[in-house]
């Protein structure tokens, strides 16, 4: 996924860039609107993360001009203002979503995912591995012609595994991606969700394997 970050705080932009790159995204940073305009005129981005207060103008004007140019790029506005009227204004001028600073990567990730889902069809979003098909938009898993609903965290956990099958994830990595820092997470929280998913995967040809002392991975049954 190609992401454009338009943010005047270079430190924040750098952190976001590093985080998104860790998630296998390609990221460009623009510290002002002129650079941002140049970037979107020469290349395509899957999503834009836009700050409002920028040194050479207002991010909202930039958003308006993007929409006026008929560019249907998903835009998430990063705002320091939390009033609902501000949010409503942002949505009215064409933002797909907004996120209030400071935010957690988990939340940013979730909002990006939700916006991207809205922009593309459900079929394109289906993830498959082995004989399972995961539908993130409807929070369903399908195998043996049977669909099973998933709760949000189960869905996100399976999404992590399906996006990187056979890759080993430590308990900490999964905790960081599944829970907000502000959530009260119990010692065995990951085991609980892995256990639930295992139950829901019974009958399929994939399973979540525990690598003792290291973590978990999604593998096909032999």
């Amino acid at each position: 996924m190609k992401v454009l970050i338009i943010e005047d705080s270079q430190e924040l932009a750098k952190s976001l860039r590093l985080f998104l790159e860790l998630e296998n995204n390609h990221v460009e940073c623009a510290y002002d609107l002129a650079t941002a305009s140049h970037y979107i005129s020469v290349t395509h981005f899957d999503i834009i993360l836009l700050d409002i207060m920028l040194p050479d103008g207002d991010g909202r004007d930039f958003l308006r001009s993007v929409r006026a140019r008929n560019k249907n790029i998903p835009v998430i506005v990063m705002t320091a203002r939390s009033e609902i009227s501000d949010r409503v204004d942002l949505l009215d001028i064409g933002a797909d979503d907004y996120i209030i600073k400071p935010f957690e990567f988990v939340e940013l990730e979730a909002r990006c995912r939700a916006v991207l889902r809205r922009h593309s069809g459900q079929d394109q979003q289906a993830l498959s591995y082995g004989n399972i098909i995961l539908y993130p938009l409807s929070a369903m898993i399908e195998f043996a012609q049977e669909k099973t609903p998933l709760r949000n965290r189960e869905l996100r956990l399976l999404e992590i595994f399906c996006n990187s099958p056979e890759i080993l994830f430590s308990k900490e990595q999964l905790t960081d991606r599944l829970f907000l820092i502000s959530d009260e997470v119990t010692e065995n929280a990951i085991e609980v969700y892995v256990g639930r998913l295992r139950k829901k995967l019974v009958g399929s040809n994939v399973t979540i394997e525990t690598v003792r002392g290291i973590g978990y991975r999604l593998v096909k049954d032999e």
Partner: protein, 459 residues
């Protein structure tokens, strides 16, 4: 014991007007009584004058002597009224001629047209005397006739008593009417002060609008002073609010950097000690951010309560929008949000939308924060006889006791908040916003560890 008598202006006015009314009533009574007595005396004097004239008419000169043919019919007429007693005496050149010889002679005598009147006490009775001196000649002899007619004053006294009684009743009636008017006047005089006081008293704690200048001239200096004070206070408050708002705004961007960097470090960190430290840093950032956000919200609510901007909007649409906004936050915590309503989207309400939304947002935020994971937050919105009713129910693992006195206090957090991040301002913001829009809020624990918040918005 220097206790100062602190009478209200109304009572002072009432006492002053009452005293004036009493003095006027008393004067009126006395003056009227005097006039009435004078009228009665004048009437009696008139009668006595007529009697004297009728006596004089009956004086004859025969040869060298004077004879009087007494007009008994006149005397009996005088005596018949009120059974008064009549005394008369006629002296000729100082010699007793006829009448009551023991009747004392007055010192002064008038003429036929204007007899001399005086009052004397005779035989235990108070008498009115008319005395006149008349000179006749008989055979060149000069006869100086002194005629006295006296009448007791029983009739006059009884009339005076009757009139006085009536006068007392009339005066009392007048006094009562005067007191009534004094009461009305005192109330009418005080009314603008009461209206003025009510205008100030009925204001919400954050209503710092100017008091109405439509007050009587005498109250204008007070209203002006109060408005100047409000203006100075508002200016100070606004400076504080602006400072808080700007401070909160300027804190957020560096906080974002701290949080992002810490999160990145957390993701790369392998040792449990470092991870714990980083989590603590991030939680502190969240706590700071939450406090800043709520201070910003609080400043905004205070500002809007002072200057509400009412608008007509679809209440269902506003609530639905907020619920939608919280959907992702609920998903992230594995919570379900259900929203049911019987209110039509075309149903509008006229109030300050920002205040209303702030109240609902904070209530929902609270519900999300404290709800037990993997439970459902139930949001119901309906229209009752007088109100729109929004109910938010969320389940706790073990719902705390909700102390209604402490619940809405600033920086007070409830029991069992544990490690849940919060500033203790959320419900106080809700209360301020709710009071400013004339709505009411009730939060209580119900069966099955469910906490139910009910917001009633009158329409």
């Amino acid at each position: 014991m220097n206790k100062k008598l602190n009478l209200s202006i109304r009572n002072r006015l009432l006492i002053q007007l009452g005293c004036v009314a009493f003095a006027i009533s008393l004067c009126l009574f006395l003056i009227t009584r005097i006039v009435v007595l004078q009228a009665i005396t004048a009437t009696q004097d008139g009668l006595l004058t007529a009697a004297i004239q009728s006596v004089i008419d009956k004086i004859y000169v025969v040869e060298n002597s004077v004879s009087v043919d007494l007009p008994y019919d006149t005397f009996s007429l005088l005596g018949a009224v009120g059974e008064d007693r009549i005394f008369y005496r006629i002296d000729d050149n100082g010699q007793f001629l006829t009448g009551y010889s023991d009747f004392p002679m007055p010192h002064k005598f008038g003429n036929i047209q204007e007899p001399e009147f005086s009052n004397v006490e005779h035989k235990g009775e108070r008498l009115r005397i008319a005395a006149t001196e008349n000179i006749v000649f008989a055979m060149d002899k000069r006869h100086e006739l002194r005629i006295i007619i006296a009448q007791s004053q029983n009739f006059q006294k009884s009339i005076a008593t009757k009139i006085s009684s009536n006068l007392i009743l009339i005066t009392l009636f007048f006094f009562m009417i005067a007191i009534l008017f004094a009461f009305l006047t005192a109330n009418l005089t005080i009314k603008p002060i009461y209206l003025f006081a009510t205008d100030v008293k009925m204001r919400g704690p954050n209503n710092l609008r100017k008091v109405s200048s439509d007050v009587p001239t005498e109250l204008k200096p007070l209203a002006q002073s109060l408005n100047e004070f409000i203006s100075r206070f508002r200016s100070t408050l606004r400076q504080t609010e602006t400072f808080i708002a700007e401070a909160a705004h300027h804190i957020r961007t560096p906080l974002s950097v701290v949080k992002s960097e810490s999160e990145l470090a957390l993701r790369k960190s392998k040792t449990p000690e470092n991870r714990e430290r980083l989590r603590t840093i991030i939680k502190s950032v969240d706590q700071t951010n939450r406090s800043a956000s709520q201070l910003l919200d609080h400043a905004m609510v205070l500002y809007r309560a002072e200057r509400p901007e009412t608008e007509e909007f679809s209440i269902l649409h506003a609530i639905s929008e907020i619920v939608t906004q919280f959907k992702l936050a609920a998903d992230l915590r594995d919570l379900d949000l259900t929203f049911s309503t019987d209110v039509s989207p075309t149903q509008t309400i006229n109030l300050d939308r920002t205040l209303f939304e702030t109240a609902v947002r904070n209530l929902l935020d609270n519900a999300l924060k404290y709800a037990l994971s993997e439970t459902t937050i139930i949001i119901e919105f309906k229209k009752t006889k007088h109100n729109f009713q929004l109910t938010i129910k969320n389940q706790y693992s073990s719902a705390p006791f909700l102390d209604q006195k402490q619940l809405y206090k600033k920086f007070k957090r409830g029991e069992q908040t544990g490690e849940i991040i919060g500033s203790g301002l959320g419900l106080s913001i809700v209360m301020e916003a709710v009071s400013a829009i004339g709505a009411s809020i009730d939060i209580r624990k119900t069966k099955g560890d469910i906490v139910c918040a009910t917001l009633l918005v009158p329409y």
